[in-house]
């Protein structure tokens, strides 16, 4: 991975209209120097993958607040392999379950879906710090 400005595709997955959170993520990413492609709310998984391909993005950051992501992201592994997106970092964050759920149950589930980083009910800046550290780690490796 080179030093060029990193491209991030972001948006809210499924039937979820939490636009304020989406805007905050967009602004925070831009403030940290990323080139952001914001697909907005109500976005399908296929649209996220297609946006990654069209922009040759480095990161896909999906957010979900109403807990629907569990149903919408099951095909990620399949799509990831179909388009051979092995260098792209897949991140998901927000409220990732309907009702009460523990991080130790939720995180492995989403990692099994194909996400590299999973942030369940973790604040935005902590999540983005972790993402930056993850990206840095990749470069040094």
């Amino acid at each position: 991975m080179t030093d060029r400005i990193k491209k991030v595709v972001t948006g809210v997955v499924g039937n979820d209209i939490h636009v304020v959170a989406n805007r905050l993520i967009d602004i925070s990413l831009q403030a940290r120097g990323y080139e952001v492609f914001n697909l907005g709310v109500n976005t399908y998984l296929e649209e996220f993958i297609d946006a990654v391909i069209e922009t040759d993005a480095d990161i896909l950051l999906i957010s979900s607040l109403n807990g629907e992501a569990e149903g919408w992201c099951r095909d990620l592994q399949f799509l990831r392999s179909e388009y051979q997106l092995k260098d792209v970092v897949f991140v998901i964050g927000g409220n990732l379950a309907v009702g009460e759920a523990k991080c130790e149950d939720i995180v492995p589930k989403y990692k099994a879906y194909g996400f590299d980083l999973v942030f369940h009910q973790i604040d935005l800046n902590t999540g983005l710090d972790t993402l930056e550290a993850f990206m840095q780690d990749r470069i040094t490796k």
Partner: protein, 391 residues
């Protein structure tokens, strides 16, 4: 002096003048010019060439193959622009399927190649060149990322390169491709010998009918009690066009044009009758629908006035079915939100308001599971077309 407006359709001629609207069935044994001059001789003679305006949809539109990188962006954007320019899309191919896709055998009027924002390169390579070698086409246009332009220019003969239709924010940029395709369609119309001859009676440019109809939509409220969002369904002899408000679509295209067009090439009651019957027979609701209309399936094989009426009703159902959420396809319209359904074209001369109302009721009840239907408007006098011609 007033104007004489003429529409050359695949099945009918229509004229509009200060005396009102007239129409005549076309005679396919003679040229368009001879047929038109014969049927409307007095009318044409009464107007100066400068006061005669002609539009035509008789050439059937251009056929297009689109090659793109993804369904949600490059293919979707290119399809949308192509439909709005009056183009008929015969197929689409994804870049990663180029080696496994079967190339269409028919002669294509135009091939559109698209993919990637400008900061992305290396999408197209020799795989595209090998695929293009299997095609027969008259024009090829590239509207993808700028980085692949040198490679494509050096390998593809007569390639037209236009501005990328995907901007750096992943939004659609439609003007350059739209203008190119509209001009190509225009050239195709005026290039046809049959249409060229019509310049003997008009001093004005001959436009394509879908373009004229689309142009009239922002002003439709001046003629009908129509509330946005609405759709205009133009069921003709060879094709069926739908012009719809963009408010009815949930997608990622942000465009300046408030109305988009979709064409169903194989849904027409005369020239495309066989494919319409085939589509009807393949539909899961057909027997219930025929029962509802009090006829049996034998009617589909008959050549009578009643059979034509039934086919028209079937085509209304099929068109709504094809754009409904029940059958997700290229465009899914939110028909539950629809306020008005405007019908134009040949069917308005054959079907009554009650007959149209009845089939729309059946569709909404059966497919969308609701008894509430939009306002039905029948454009009996081809006002939409005359409105577009006058603009």
């Amino acid at each position: 002096m007033s104007k004489l407006l003429i529409d050359v359709g695949s099945t009918y001629f229509k004229t509009s003048s200060s005396e009102g609207v007239a129409q005549a069935f076309r005679d396919f044994s003679m040229t368009i010019f001879d047929d038109l001059s014969h049927k409307f001789a007095n009318k044409i003679a009464a107007y100066k060439k400068e006061d005669i305006y002609i539009c035509s949809s008789a050439n059937g539109g251009l056929s297009t193959l689109i090659i793109g990188l993804t369904n949600s962006f490059s293919l979707k954007y290119a399809k949308n622009i192509a439909f709005n320019s009056g183009i008929n899309i015969i197929d689409t191919v994804l870049v990663h399927e180029l080696q496994t896709s079967v190339a269409p055998t028919q002669l294509l009027d135009v091939v559109i190649v698209v993919g990637g924002i400008d900061s992305v390169g290396g999408i197209y390579d020799t795989k595209l060149i090998s695929y293009l070698a299997k095609l027969r086409y008259s024009n090829i246009v590239y509207v993808g990322n700028t980085q692949d332009v040198p490679f494509l220019r050096s390998h593809v003969e007569a390639l037209v390169v236009l501005e990328n239709i995907i901007d750096n924010k992943l939004k659609v940029r439609e003007e350059a491709l739209k203008e190119y395709l509209t001009n190509l369609y225009q050239q195709d119309i005026v290039g046809k010998e049959d249409i060229k001859q019509l310049y003997a009676i008009t001093a004005n440019q001959i436009f394509s009918t879908p373009y004229i109809v689309n142009r009239s939509l922002p002003f439709i409220g001046t003629k009908f009690a129509v509330v946005d969002p609405f759709i205009v369904v133009d069921i003709g002899g060879a094709t069926t066009d739908i012009h719809y408000s963009r408010d009815l679509v949930r997608d990622n295209i942000v465009s300046e044009n408030g109305f988009d067009r979709l064409v169903f090439k194989k849904l027409g009651v005369y020239k495309s009758r066989e494919s319409l019957v085939f589509a009807a027979k393949s539909n899961e609701f057909v027997y219930e629908m025929l029962n509802y209309l009090n006829v049996t399936e034998n009617i589909l094989e008959e050549q009578s006035e009643k059979a034509t009426k039934i086919l028209m009703l079937l085509s209304i159902f099929l068109v709504l079915y094809k754009v409904s959420s029940y059958k997700p396809a290229y465009v899914t319209l939110n028909l539950e939100r629809l306020n008005a359904l405007v019908f134009t074209g040949g069917i308005t001369k054959v079907l009554s308001q009650d007959e149209v109302l009845s089939i729309v009721h059946f569709f909404y009840k059966k497919v969308l599971n609701t008894n509430t239907i939009p306002t039905i408007v029948l454009d009996h006098n081809y006002d939409i077309w005359t409105l577009g011609m006058h603009q």
